[in-house]
């Protein structure tokens, strides 16, 4: 498919793919609801830049015809999605396959990452950014704190732990657009838990600030796809999102030691 290279890397503009109204096409075909139209204006479809956007996903038909020929002598690749094979059926019934869909093929999330080469020993957790493109909205979507919509795609959940708090949480990076937003979410997620851990008497919950600039008591760091630990905030947002595997909030005073030792966690466990 154009715009999607075989090794799974995606150009950032395709991160938020798939029209939300896709699954409803059967029913709402003839209803131009405001919701659907506005959504369609915002959506990005699979395809090379500058391609026309057609309502019913017929841009997909062009892609289908470019399918590699299969082994059989009769190559019927072009026929697969042709609506003409079902001319007796009502037209509101979409027989074409309009694009990747939630939960299809029906493979559980932990089986979805094999093609991305989870053979790194550095503990890729099962969140994989590239899988966003693979008709699966997110892998670790069973994060306890998060509710999600079955139709929406592109949720990217990464685990986040905070020093001093035993329970980890999860953050949907795709619902954030900036570091500031992320910082705000981290504060929201952990403020209460941190206060509970400190067992402070009558003290109000302190907001967690200065995560990005080194001025606060805590600093936000992350582990990228190569297992390296980095400070959050140095690279453009979209680059960060495409490489982050895991987040950690550490004490600012411990920055230099935390970032120097690569496989920090594994070393501790094995000793």
């Amino acid at each position: 498919m154009e715009g999607y290279s075989r090794n799974g890397e995606i150009s950032p503009k395709l991160l938020h793919l798939i029209p939300q109204g896709t699954r409803r096409n059967w029913f709402h075909d003839d209803q131009a609801s405001v919701y659907n139209t506005e959504e369609k204006k915002l959506e990005l479809k699979l395809g090379p830049p500058g391609e026309d956007e057609h309502e019913d996903g017929s841009s997909m038909l062009r892609h289908i015809k470019k399918e590699p020929k299969d082994k059989s002598t009769l190559s019927l690749a072009g026929k697969h999605f042709s609506p003409s094979s079902t001319t007796n059926k009502p037209t509101s019934q979409k027989r074409t396959a309009p694009g990747p869909v939630v939960g299809w093929p029906p493979v559980r999330s932990f089986r979805k990452n094999l093609a991305n080469g989870s053979s790194s020993k550095l503990g890729n957790d099962s969140t994989s950014n590239a899988v966003v493109l693979k008709n699966q909205k997110c892998d670790d979507d069973n994060g306890r704190a998060m509710t999600m919509e079955p139709k929406r795609q592109g949720g990217l959940f990464v685990k986040i732990n905070m020093y001093g708090v035993p329970i980890g949480r999860k953050v949907d990076l795709n619902s954030h657009n900036s570091y500031a937003q992320l910082s705000f979410t981290v504060d929201k997620l952990f403020r209460g838990l941190l206060a509970a851990q400190r067992e402070s008497f009558g003290e109000e919950e302190k907001p967690i600030t200065g995560l990005l600039d080194g001025n606060g008591e805590y600093t936000l760091t992350y582990e990228d796809s190569e297992g390296d630990k980095m400070l959050v905030g140095d690279v453009p947002w979209h680059m960060f999102v495409s490489s982050v595997k895991r987040l950690r909030v550490i004490k600012t005073s411990k920055i230099s030691s935390a970032l120097t030792y690569g496989n920090g966690k594994q070393e501790k466990m094995r000793s």
């Binding site: 059967w26 396959a97 939960g103 503990g123 998060m146």
Partner: protein, 604 residues
């Protein structure tokens, strides 16, 4: 390995809830005036305790009130196929001496993100009720339940004789919960975490097992995505003389497996090999892995290979001849790597693999594994538009070589009717047939026709078929076949199939044993839904998402069937007045609608 293992007998625990409405004249109590009640009860108890099968017990409990009562006293193993079919209180009122509970929660389509998180299926009310009622509880087996660390803590504290914890496709807990169980359940024999989402709380749970000799017989943590303390694991294996099954996660390297095998290999019957790749010591000479496997004289079940380094695969050759179960489904193995291995596996009955072994690999399986009962082929690259390394050729080969096949799960890009027809003739023992043609709406890629005849042949010729999942281009005709021939079908999965309401009607009117129906993205609407109303009380659940149901019709059904809980699940931008029903999930219940439904669920 238990991805969707199905129970054998129909689940009709609910039917026996009627405290003997029929036949007062057959009431034993009134007819046996000569014997005091309690003597009769004791006799019955002593007899009924030998009844194991759920089916038999359900039947016995219907005889009369006395039998119902005594059966309730003697049932020690309870199966609940849908946690919302009854309340925990009803369970503890009816059955007084339960030792073992098997509880299932979310519907299967929740695994594929068709249902938002936080839908429910909470274990909490169950564990808190049982904590008071069943102090002698020994075994809990949960599937698709939401279990928190607090639940696990309560479990660990409440049941002093607790022996077996099995969590399949569960979530909501982490390594801290596991640590509590490990620490407090001193009689623990089985701790099996299977395909569950376990949060890494960075707790060294392996060290939490008690210091003395343990009762552990089975420890499975291959799904736990967190490093473990290997030294502690080694010590644990060293003091667990009864350990037979050990399934390691991918954070255990080959060298570490080697060390574990040196400790306890001869007793092990089931081994999950972890990553099957070397750790950091790539410079050193590798130890003799084959020798370690040679000492695994009892291993019959092998799995793992999570990050396989293929050059070490031949190390497992010594155990191949004994294997009855082999799971390669995490390993991207090419046909050339695969063939020398499978060539030795003559006794293999259960085989799971990725489609990377290609049709060629399947042909090798067909040539060697004459005892094969269960085959599952998963896609390495689960997209719709790829070339696909397995096809009808592989399936044809399997059907010709493995005549005893009973259960099939097969992901492919293309299929032909001819291959399915051949399989229907060659494999008459098939009870489970699940074919996923990943490209939606794909016809037979040789003839261009719909896949109706192929699936039709399967339902017609495989007379023992109880579970069916269909895919590819299917018209109403396929469903006509299902209704006509699928008389034993209990579970049916449909996606992107059918032309009209008639298709679903054929199934609802023709399949008397249907228990579980899951449908997505198919053009079935109100007429079809109404046509099944005579069936729904006899079914465990019906799931229909992205079909053509209207709110009005669902409300009608809910009104007409008061013991049916009709849930409409949507996102928060659907308001209740909107007519389109995104997802319908309905099930019978003895205790009415649940109280813990989240905001996005509307119970009609």
């Amino acid at each position: 390995m238990s991805e969707d293992d199905e129970d054998q007998s129909p689940a009709s625990d609910l039917r026996s809830q009627r405290p003997c409405s029929p036949n007062k004249s057959r009431n034993c109590i009134s007819s046996s005036q000569t014997f005091p009640d309690h003597v009769l009860e004791n006799v019955l108890e002593n007899v009924l305790q030998f009844l194991d099968s759920r089916c038999d017990r359900n039947a016995a409990s219907l005889v009369c009130k006395l039998w119902w009562k005594v059966e309730g006293l003697t049932r020690s193993e309870v199966f609940i196929g849908n946690c919302y079919a009854l309340s925990p209180a009803r369970l503890t009122q009816r059955f007084k001496r339960v030792r073992s509970l098997l509880l299932k929660g979310k519907p299967r389509f929740a695994d594929f993100n068709l249902m938002p998180a936080d839908w429910g299926a909470n274990f909490a009310p169950w564990v808190s009720t049982m904590a008071k009622a069943y102090p002698w509880l020994e075994k809990v087996d949960l599937k698709r339940m939401f279990v928190t660390d607090d639940d696990l803590a309560l479990l660990a504290e409440s049941f002093p004789g607790f022996k077996e914890l099995i969590l399949v496709c569960c979530e909501g807990f982490g390594t801290s919960g596991i640590a509590v169980v490990a620490n407090k359940c001193r009689k623990l024999k089985v701790l099996d975490l299977i395909e569950s989402d376990v949060t890494d709380d960075e707790v060294d749970w392996v060290s939490c097992f008690p210091e003395d000799v343990t009762c552990l017989e089975s420890l499975a943590f291959d799904c736990v995505e967190a490093p473990i303390n290997f030294k502690a694991l080694e010590a644990l294996v060293g003091r667990s003389p009864l350990l037979r099954k050990l399934r390691l996660n991918r954070f255990v390297s080959l060298e570490e497996v080697h060390r574990l095998l040196l400790l306890g290999a001869p007793q092990l019957t089931s081994l999950g090999t972890g990553s099957f790749s070397r750790g950091d010591q790539s410079q050193q000479e590798p130890p003799d892995y084959a020798a370690a496997f040679r000492s695994c004289k009892s291993v019959v079940c092998l799995s793992g290979f999570r990050e396989l380094m293929p050059e070490y695969l031949p190390a497992i050759l010594p155990v191949c001849a004994n294997l009855t179960s082999l799971n390669f489904s995490y390993a991207n193995i090419s046909p050339d790597m695969f063939k020398p291995i499978i060539h030795n596996c003559h006794k293999l009955q259960i085989f799971w693999a990725l489609d990377s072994i290609c049709d060629e690999g399947l042909q090798a399986v067909a040539a060697t594994c004459k005892e094969l009962r269960e085959l599952r082929i998963f896609p390495f690259d689960p997209r719709e538009d790829t070339e696909g390394p397995v096809s009808e050729l592989g399936l044809q080969a399997i059907s010709e070589g493995c005549r005893k096949l009973e259960s099939l799960l097969y992901f492919c890009q293309h299929m032909t009717n001819a291959a399915l027809i051949a399989m229907s003739h060659n494999c008459p023992e098939l009870t489970v047939f699940r074919l996923c043609i990943m490209g939606r709406l794909r016809p037979d890629h040789v003839t261009g026709k719909a896949m109706d005849e192929g699936f039709g042949a399967i339902v017609k010729n495989c007379k023992k078929l109880t579970r069916l999942a269909v895919s590819g281009l299917l018209t109403d005709q396929a469903f006509r076949y299902m209704g006509e021939y699928g008389k034993l079908i209990r579970t049916l999965s449909v996606a992107f199939a059918g032309d009209s309401d008639m298709a679903l009607r054929h199934v609802l009117e023709g399949c008397p044993r249907l228990q579980k129906l899951e449908i997505r993205d198919s053009p079935f609407g109100d007429v079809a839904l109404r046509s099944g109303m005579h069936r729904y009380y006899n079914m465990r659940f019906v799931w229909m998402s992205a079909c053509r149901l209207t709110m009005g019709c669902c409300k009608d059904v809910a009104r007409a069937m008061p013991n049916l809980v009709v849930e409409v699940i949507g996102s928060d931008d659907d308001d209740v007045n909107r007519d389109y029903v995104e997802t319908l999930y309905m099930y019978r219940s003895l205790d009415g609608p649940r109280k813990d439904a989240p905001q996005f669920v509307t119970i009609l």
